[in-house]
């Protein structure tokens, strides 16, 4: 078998010397040519603006969901360009949110763009960029509170612990309590306002809110009622402690 492959061609001596010389010289010139070229250097590219969602639907042959998933991956990997890694915060967030909007329009049921908004682009170390992404999440939450509540809950945590902006956290937590009223929204998300108020030292306001929630009769879940009653108890203890400190 091997012998067949070795012997099926004519011997090397049948190749004219000129052809062998040409082969060696051409290979040497190619290597010399390559060595004389400018060294290949990695260059960062700016994130371009997206096209219209319709254009992506057309170019994916009518597969908007597939197009959305591919664009998700492309956008997510944009900071890793060949040979270079761009810090996320150096991306133009205005353009990033345009991309996220486009992807959400292609696949409205997908959560991927909101997840990267909250946990990737919203987790950078630059306050301004983080705020920009939290604003975007808040904007999307207002479009469909019962769908995007979890990302706004994440924004509450980010505002409170990373941005250290309690007013912003309260604003988001208030929106959660007011607008995310669907059955799928767990009570811990709706009750985040109480925790933020408590952390702000607004113990009395938090207690009034908890009491109001219980009295309204809207809460029927026994676990949530139990949580709120425990919270009232904790808040009363705190208020008593504060009064004692003031009296001293």
């Amino acid at each position: 078998m091997i012998r067949h492959y070795i012997e099926k061609d004519r011997p090397l001596r049948d190749v004219p010397i000129a052809v062998i010389v040409m082969l060696v010289v051409a290979l040497a010139i190619q290597l010399f040519w390559h060595s004389q070229q400018e060294p290949i250097v990695a260059k960062a590219e700016d994130l371009p603006r997206p096209m219209s969602p319709r254009a992506y639907v057309m170019s994916s042959f009518g597969e908007p969901v597939a197009a959305a998933k591919i664009l998700n991956l492309w956008l997510q990997a944009f900071d890793n360009q060949p040979g270079i890694s761009i810090p996320l915060h150096s991306l133009d967030y205005d353009v990033v949110t345009d991309w996220l909007d486009t992807i959400l329009e292609l696949d409205p049921r997908g959560h991927y763009p909101m997840l990267v908004a909250a946990r990737v682009y919203g987790s950078v170390s630059v306050d301004e960029k983080q705020r920009e992404m939290m604003d975007y999440i808040f904007y999307k939450f207002n479009e469909d509170p019962n769908k995007h509540w979890r990302w706004l809950a994440h924004a509450v945590i980010t505002a409170k612990h990373e941005l250290k902006d309690m007013q912003l956290a309260l604003k988001y937590a208030h929106a959660l309590a007011e607008k995310a009223t669907g059955e799928n929204v767990p009570y811990w998300a709706r009750d985040m306002k109480i925790i933020v108020l408590e952390d702000m030292g607004e113990v009395a306001a938090a207690k009034i809110l908890v009491g109001g929630l219980i009295a309204s009769g809207e809460i029927t879940d026994p676990y949530e009622l139990n949580f709120l009653e425990n919270k009232i108890h904790t808040l009363e203890e705190k208020m008593t402690k504060i009064r004692q400190d003031v009296d001293k």
Partner: protein, 240 residues
């Protein structure tokens, strides 16, 4: 004409015209730039595919209907046969590059289209030579086409692959990774710098110049010589 190559080229021109006008309707801004970018990329790829198919299919027919054996039985050098084929296919490349460039004149400035067309011509010459090498090596259409397209794609993307290997996001020191890095670097030395050829950017942003064309022509001529030497080496050793 017997292969309907001209008709196929004109069909591609008509399809690309429809496609580009449609894309022009979609673009909200940079209307003309979007059109010319899509058209340039589409025509470049179409030209490569058409020329490859033409070179491989027409030469394989000569192998299969024994025309080649008849020619080689005559008192002519194998190199004469090869150079004859190469010259003929280079003329075909010139015709296709001219037709496709003429189409681009509708959307881009004449000087940039001329640079693009010349570069496309030299790119097609390399594709022709590569097609002949692959065909003499494999003697079969599927294997030859696969060989051409794999090497063409590798030549177009070798720079990106090299950069990714040279500047990894997560550094690595394993022997296998070092071997792969070395292999990728070797590829960049052995493959032509096709990323410098026929750039859509020239058409879209008018950045082309004759100084950019010189390295393209230089690389094309050097690589054409190398591929011809490989093809002749293989051809002289073939038993028919």
């Amino acid at each position: 004409m017997r292969n309907r190559l001209l008709w196929l080229s004109l069909l591609v021109v008509v399809i690309s015209f429809g496609l580009v006008e449609f894309i022009g309707d979609l673009a909200i801004t940079e209307h003309r730039v979007t059109q010319v970018a899509v058209l340039g990329a589409f025509l470049r790829l179409s030209a490569v595919v058409i020329v490859t198919m033409f070179v491989v299919s027409s030469t394989v027919r000569e192998l299969q209907d024994k025309t080649l054996e008849m020619i080689l039985a005559m008192p002519i050098h194998r190199s004469s046969y090869y150079l004859g084929k190469l010259t003929g296919f280079i003329q075909v490349s010139a015709i296709i590059a001219t037709i496709f460039s003429a189409m681009l004149l509708l959307y881009a400035s004449a000087d940039q289209v001329m640079l693009w067309g010349i570069s496309l011509f030299f790119e097609l010459i390399l594709v022709v030579a590569l097609g002949l090498v692959m065909l003499f090596t494999f003697n079969q259409i599927p294997a030859a086409l696969t060989g051409v397209f794999v090497i063409y794609a590798a030549s177009r993307s070798a720079t990106s692959i090299y950069l990714m290997a040279k500047y990894p996001i997560i550094s690595h020191t394993t022997i296998s990774q070092k071997f792969m890095d070395g292999f990728v670097e070797l590829l960049t030395w052995l493959l032509p710098d096709l990323h410098r050829f026929t750039q859509t950017e020239w058409l879209a942003h008018g950045t082309g110049s004759f100084s950019l064309l010189m390295p393209v022509i230089g690389q094309a001529l050097i690589y054409l010589t190398l591929l011809s030497a490989v093809a002749l080496f293989d051809f002289y050793r073939k038993n028919f």
